[in-house]
């Protein structure tokens, strides 16, 4: 099953490599990984999406918790949550394609953020499935370049991950 694990990490050199190393060393899978400092400059927030059986996920969270630099973590998929991923995508846009792409971007509530005579650069945020859906809708033949941020997530409601 796919899981989103959100981690508060000491904002120190080497901390990220320890997390990434743990995944490869124990043969766990990383699908996406995002990391950035938080409003508290001593902490980073790291979000990793992974897949595995319940037993594997339990081991992942336990092994992560064992790392000295991991301060706190939560498996967001255990409760209601919001997940978002940002995609920037460069599409071939000439002739009648231009209007068609514009329409599709509107349907997916994206924005065209850069334009040349033959290329549109589109910005789109949403869950990973929505981004996959957009690529499918515009057709892979027109895609020149894709960059995706990986998933960030947060719990719904009052629940917060903080110290």
């Amino acid at each position: 099953m796919r899981r989103i694990i959100s981690v508060l990490l000491e904002n120190e050199p080497g901390a990220l490599s320890r997390v990434v190393g743990l995944f490869s060393q124990r043969n766990y899978n990383i699908e996406t990984l995002t990391v950035a400092p938080t409003e508290d400059e001593t902490l980073s927030r790291l979000t990793v999406t992974t897949t595995g059986s319940d037993k594997v996920i339990e081991q992942i969270t336990k092994q992560l918790n064992k790392l000295i630099e991991v301060v706190k973590l939560v498996d967001l998929t255990e409760g209601a949550h919001i997940e978002r991923e940002l995609m920037l995508i460069k599409l071939k846009a000439t002739g009648s394609q231009r209007a068609e792409i514009k329409r599709t971007v509107d349907i997916f509530r994206g924005q065209i953020v850069d334009v040349t005579s033959s290329v549109y650069t589109v910005q789109l945020a949403g869950d990973s499935e929505k981004l996959d859906g957009f690529i499918q809708a515009v057709g892979t033949s027109g895609v020149l370049e894709v960059v995706r941020s990986g998933v960030s997530g947060i719990a719904r409601g009052e629940k917060v991950l903080s110290l």
């Binding site: 000491e10 080497g14 490599s17 320890r18 190393g21 060393q25 037993k55 339990e58 081991q59 336990k62 092994q63 918790n65 064992k66 000295i68 630099e69 991991v70 301060v71 706190k72 110290l163």
Partner: protein
């Protein structure tokens, strides 16, 4: 406040931490530190001949004393040579701090002479590693390193020290912190009371219980609590290779150790148990055999300081995270208070069954009139040393024979590389033990393959007068490899023979030690007596043993606990 250089702060921190010995080898990036070491006499430095041996020495010291060991090496090759030793300590959860020199911080990343990213290289085999980013941090980093190494589930901690952190002419205020603050590291200090209560209720209701204890009991200094609980309950106990000595092997409730080369009765009892109380053990593959066939009728209570050890390979019904000594103490007082008593009839029937298993096989081997059997060497040594020696081993058949036939009644006396299986561990580990236990007998039981992996330490033994006894069970082959080739590869002995062995007697003599060769069975006991009488000498005892002996029992690969070979021809 005193002003000290980084190097002096480092050594002073070790003094304030109460460190008696460090094991190491100097080199460029560590020279400021070695100079600071020279200008004091509280912390004693033992100069090894290879950095790997320094780590095993620190490891042997830690296993025998329960205190963290300390290693000091230079950057680059000095640091990378420690890796096998660090991995050995990591797999067996041995507390240790490894101080590594590093090139100056201004040179890091430039492929400078003797530069290695030791933080990166060591990462998968340490509990934690730290690098010094400013000389002023040194006391705090050192305090943190020992705190992390020795608390919770212990393990090795590497400290990387760039050379410019120890420059002699830059001085800073020195104060050794009494406490460290780590907001993200809080090992459990007691188990969950509700879970412990539940576990005790299950224990008292069990009809076929087995207590399965591991190295965590030795590391957690909980042998007394365990022994008291087991005696109070009157239940059978087995332990892992790492748990040897946590409960007296000579006691009738003890079934011997379990797993791949465990006793018939221990493995049978585990397989047929209805309740297993696992304490400080981790259900590793050398214990469980195929996990899907593991102990089908048993419910499992698992006590461990490390939550990640619980339900990692075998699902626990009642997990208890906490220090083993505290949990066992609480269990014992609940057992004493409880109105419920174990079902005497059921437990008597269970013991009757176990005694039948014990009578069916027990530990046995075929003796011979002329060939020396490795097992009998161990039995004689056990007798001659009254079972009181510290025994270190290397890895292979001799290790299993030593563990099977030397019956340990006390913890911390059986010292081997259980998890990583590191050949070359035995001699340096024995040195680490002997240094702090000069009046105790210290035996290094080894083979002609393993001993050659750190043979250079005979020189260190001479320098520091470490009269350990090296018992070389010489079968002229890599015995365990050969055994597997006999069993699984139709006796194709690919690369498992040791040709052109050195004359170990002359080799020992050339280092200034004594050597004794034993080839005849008739002289075995008398010569071993003579060897043990040479209290102040390191004696290399080269014993020619049966070249064809296998270690039994041996679990059948991918079988259950009860599927074993009992000899070359009997399979159950």
């Amino acid at each position: 406040m005193e002003l000290l250089s980084g190097a002096d702060m480092l050594i002073r921190s070790l003094q304030d931490e109460g460190i008696e010995y460090i094991y190491g080898y100097p080199g460029g990036a560590a020279l400021h530190i070695y100079d600071a070491l020279f200008r004091q006499d509280k912390v004693k430095h033992i100069l090894v001949r290879h950095e790997q041996a320094a780590v095993h020495m620190a490891d042997g010291y830690a296993r025998a004393t329960g205190k963290p060991g300390t290693v000091l090496v230079t950057s680059g090759p000095g640091a990378t040579n420690t890796i096998t030793g660090i991995a050995t300590a990591f797999m067996d959860s041995i507390p240790m701090v490894v101080l590594c020199g590093q090139v100056a911080s201004t040179l890091i990343g430039e492929d400078a002479f003797q530069e290695t990213d030791m933080i990166g290289v060591s990462r998968p085999v340490v509990k934690h590693n730290l690098s010094v980013r400013h000389p002023e941090e040194i006391p705090e980093v050192i305090r943190k390193a020992y705190y992390i190494a020795a608390t919770g589930r212990p393990g090795p901690v590497v400290v990387d020290i760039p050379k410019d952190m120890t420059t002699p002419n830059e001085r800073y205020e020195y104060a050794y912190p009494k406490k460290v603050k780590l907001r993200s590291y809080n090992p459990a200090i007691r188990g969950h009371a509700g879970q412990i209560k539940k576990a005790v209720d299950m224990l008292l209701a069990a009809r076929r219980p087995v207590i399965y204890a591991g190295g965590g009991v030795v590391l957690g200094k909980a042998s007394d609590q365990l022994t008291e609980l087991v005696r109070k309950l009157g239940y059978p106990i087995t332990n892992t290779l790492m748990g040897i000595g946590c409960y007296p092997a000579s006691d009738k409730q003890h079934l011997g150790w379990l797993g791949m080369h465990g006793t018939y009765e221990a493995n049978m009892a585990m397989h047929h148990a209805d309740l297993i109380l696992a304490i400080g053990a981790r259900f590793d593959d050398r214990v469980t055999n195929a996990t899907e066939k593991f102990c089908p009728g048993a419910r499992i209570i698992h006590v461990d300081i490390d939550p990640a050890s619980i339900s990692k390979t075998v699902e626990a019904d009642v997990p208890i995270v906490g220090p083993v000594d505290a949990v066992l103490k609480e269990m014992l007082s609940l057992v004493k208070e409880s109105k419920q008593k174990p079902d005497a009839d059921a437990i008597a029937a269970w013991w009757k069954q176990i005694e039948e298993w014990r009578a069916f096989h027990g530990m046995r081997y075929e003796t011979s009139d002329d060939v020396i059997k490795p097992q009998e060497v161990i039995e004689i040594l056990h007798r001659l040393t009254n079972g009181e020696a510290f025994v270190t081993s290397d890895v292979g058949q001799h290790q299993m024979f030593a563990a099977q036939y030397y019956k340990f009644d006390k913890p911390n006396r059986w010292i081997n590389s259980g998890g990583l299986g590191t050949m070359g561990f035995g001699l340096p580990a024995a040195m680490g033990v002997k240094l702090t236990h000069p009046d105790d007998e210290v035996l290094c039981i080894t083979g002609e393959g393993s001993i050659q992996m750190n043979i250079q330490e005979l020189s260190t033994c001479k320098q520091y007068n470490l009269p350990v006894k090296i018992i070389n069970l010489n079968n002229q082959a890599l015995g365990m490899v050969k055994q597997w080739q006999d069993m699984n590869y139709e006796s194709r002995h690919s690369q498992s023979y040791m040709e052109s062995l050195p004359d170990f007697i002359k080799l020992a003599e050339s280092y200034g030690h004594k050597g004794v060769r034993i080839e005849k069975k008739a002289e075995l006991e008398s010569k071993l007596k003579e060897v043990l009488a040479m209290k102040d000498e390191l004696v290399f005892v080269d014993i020619y043993v049966d070249r064809f002996e296998h270690v039994y029992p041996m679990q059948v690969a991918r079988g259950s606990m009860k599927d074993m070979w009992l000899s070359k021809t009997e399979r159950v």
